[in-house]
């Protein structure tokens, strides 16, 4: 596992959560677990729906700690840019799974009225803005959004967080974006979810092993690599970066080392995946690990966990029902929203 040598390394706990950030209250930790479970359940529901003929999606199964940890460190003032694998970011930010599912199914109650589908869901009201499924699209827009924040067009003190994958780091725009953010001193947190895969290609076919942190570091911005499967580690690193960005106004970089447990886009038989690697990472599942940790530490008991699971299941069932009941858009509204 990669940990950064560029700034103080954050301890590497291989799936066991690292030191708890002081500000994480018991409630916050329980809520983190429940949110991760909600994300997982939401995406498993999408897989189910896809089997029944709904459009496919890119799930973030295995990466829930990244979303929950980073989003948890942001507040309402902040704006988020994300990519095709965004369900976790949206749900962690408080998005309604029903409206998300409606969007995936192409219905009017979806966040984008069915025009987006699963790959570019954005919600202005939640501050999840400018979602692009063009790999690197989010990186190209992030400095501009951060510039607008800096120039007083957003909430005072707000920063921008941009989520992207290890594949996006291969696109030249990654470097252009980092360089501009550094030159212009923009309040921007780069969050790379290094999930080892770039669609059907393992990242070690596309870049040197330590490339992401090395590349980021070469741009001269504070860079941390942490275990992306340990939600409290992610939270701690993100909270610290966010706090520093608020003070300095300058960009920072966070690499979250994690793993894409399911295929690239449903359905995907993962026949091209090394089964040993997959098994090893499944053993380090972020939800399973955190659940055990909270059980062990006595923050929750098996009954509480069962209740949590029930709540999650009910929310997702309600969401699916809502989405499937939602109306299809009218074909004659096809060209609405092209121009302002």
């Amino acid at each position: 596992m990669n940990v950064s040598e560029h700034t103080e390394p954050v301890a590497d706990h291989h799936g066991v959560p690292g030191p708890t950030h002081e500000s994480a209250t018991p409630e916050a930790r329980l809520s983190s677990l429940e949110t991760m479970m909600l994300i997982r359940a939401y995406e498993e529901q999408l897989v189910e729906l896809q089997r029944g003929g709904a459009p496919g999606t890119c799930t973030s199964v295995g990466q829930e700690a990244c979303a929950v940890g980073v989003i948890g460190a942001l507040d309402e003032r902040d704006r988020i840019l994300t990519n095709h694998r965004s369900a976790g970011h949206l749900i962690a930010r408080g998005a309604d799974p029903g409206r998300m599912m409606a969007e995936v199914l192409g219905r009017t109650d979806g966040y984008c009225g069915g025009r987006s589908g699963s790959l570019h869901i954005a919600s202005r009201e939640l501050g999840v803005v400018l979602t692009s499924t063009i790999v690197g699209g989010e990186l190209s827009m992030a400095p501009g959004m951060a510039l607008a924040q800096k120039m007083g067009r957003g909430e005072p003190g707000g920063i921008v967080a941009v989520f992207f994958g290890d594949g996006a780091a291969c696109e030249g725009i990654f470097h252009e974006s980092l360089n501009l953010a550094v030159q212009w001193q923009l309040p921007l947190l780069f969050v790379c979810e290094n999930n080892q895969w770039q669609a059907f290609v393992h990242r070690l076919e596309t870049m040197p092993d330590r490339a992401i942190a090395d590349w980021a570091h070469s741009h001269g911005l504070p860079t941390r690599s942490v275990d992306g499967n340990a939600v409290e580690e992610v939270y701690a690193a993100a909270a610290r970066a966010v706090a520093e960005i608020r003070v300095t106004g300058s960009p920072q970089f966070l690499e979250l080392v994690t793993y894409r447990q399911r295929g690239h886009f449903e359905p995907d038989d993962q026949s091209y995946v090394d089964p040993d690697e997959l098994v090893a990472w499944r053993r380090r599942d972020p939800i399973q690990g955190y659940r055990e940790h909270l059980l062990e530490s006595g923050l929750i008991d098996p009954e509480g966990l069962a209740a949590m699971e029930r709540r999650v299941r009910e929310r997702i069932e309600a969401a699916a029902a809502f989405a499937q009941a939602s109306a299809w858009p009218a074909p004659d509204r096809l060209t609405d929203h092209v121009y302002a």
């Binding site: 459009p55 219905r107 699963s118 790959l119 692009s132 996006a168 030249g172 290609v201 074909p331």
Partner: protein
């Protein structure tokens, strides 16, 4: 003759051309994962996964072509082509001319596009017209398995950079394919898919099917439609189009791409400039709307011209205006 899908036809063309010419290489994000048999048979040197970086993928194809290879680069989806645009438009398209003919760029860039996957405008954008407009490039967009195979093979053997667009909606369509490895389809020749006398329908890719369906329905009304499948958007087979229009006097152009400065505009302009005297009625364009593709299945489908609209347009052209046809056509 063998029956195969478009996807299989593409694969066979790649395999045969790699067999035929050791200079042919295949590269792209995931091509080695997808075409594992080609890696096994031709080696990892000739079938290369690339980093996820379309600009350098395309640029590398351009450089490799000038250096003596014959690269095929799979850029996956057409909306990713903007990242490759500089290499394709400024390098591949221009450097032969700029250098006074010193270099040639025998390469093929492939990309999928079109409705059928319900994933929205960043995977579905029919932007082939942009490349038709750019000098120095050739542009293909076939509709049948035989054409996919024959044209891809010819494209790989062509001395010029060729954009090869794959209509996603056709991938699993089946058809008869000539099995002879030397069976090529020359670039720049349209195919007359159906002969007719009253109206000429010009289309390419998925909407050729809509035209053929429409032509069949029109038969019942005693309207005889000729259906031309352009296949090659550049070079464009002006002669086949013009000869047909001169015979029928009526022209409907149909495609999924949006209309403004699209291929239908070019075909309509062709008729208005070079077959004007033969035209007996206004030209009709049925195209996708001037809007990004929507994800939602119903909206996605609503953005693609369907047989019904083609029928309505043809009836109006041949028999005159009606309220009904106006209503159907207002949609486009």
């Amino acid at each position: 003759m063998t029956r195969m899908t478009v996807e299989q036809a593409i694969h066979q063309a790649l395999r045969e051309e790699m067999e035929h010419d050791p200079r042919v290489i295949l590269m792209g994000e995931g091509v080695a994962t997808k075409h594992r048999d080609l890696v096994e048979d031709f080696g990892a040197e000739r079938v290369r996964n690339t980093p996820l970086a379309e600009a350098i993928m395309a640029g590398t194809a351009v450089g490799a072509a000038a250096g003596g290879l014959r690269p095929v680069v799979d850029l996956l989806f057409a909306p990713f082509l903007p990242y490759s645009m500089d290499a394709l438009v400024n390098s591949a398209g221009k450097l032969r001319y700029i250098s006074g003919g010193q270099f040639s760029f025998p390469m093929v860039a492939m990309a999928m596009t079109g409705a059928g996957w319900a994933v929205g405008a960043q995977h579905n954008h029919n932007l082939e017209a942009m490349f038709v407009h750019a000098p120095g490039l050739k542009v293909l967009m076939p509709s049948t398995p035989a054409d996919f195979r024959g044209l891809l093979k010819a494209a790989i053997r062509d001395e010029n950079p060729v954009l090869f667009f794959i209509d996603l909606g056709l991938l699993h369509q089946e058809g008869e394919v000539e099995a002879r490895a030397d069976e090529l389809i020359p670039l720049g020749q349209a195919a007359v898919r159906r002969e007719g006398t009253h109206v000429t329908m010009v289309s390419y890719a998925k909407t050729v099917g809509a035209c053929l369906q429409a032509a069949e329905q029109l038969e019942a009304r005693q309207i005889s439609a000729e259906v031309i499948d352009l296949r090659s958007l550049k070079p464009l087979d002006e002669e086949t189009v013009l000869a047909s229009v001169r015979r029928t006097g009526r022209l409907i152009v149909v495609h999924e791409a949006s209309g403004l400065c699209g291929v239908a505009a070019e075909i309509a302009a062709l008729a208005a400039t070079k077959a004007f005297d033969a035209l007996r009625a206004p030209v009709v364009r049925l195209t996708g709307p001037d809007a990004p593709a929507a994800s939602s299945w119903v909206l996605e489908q609503a953005g693609v011209p369907q047989a019904e609209a083609v029928v309505a347009a043809a009836v109006e052209l041949v028999l005159g205006t009606s309220e009904h046809t106006r209503a159907v056509m207002a949609h486009y």
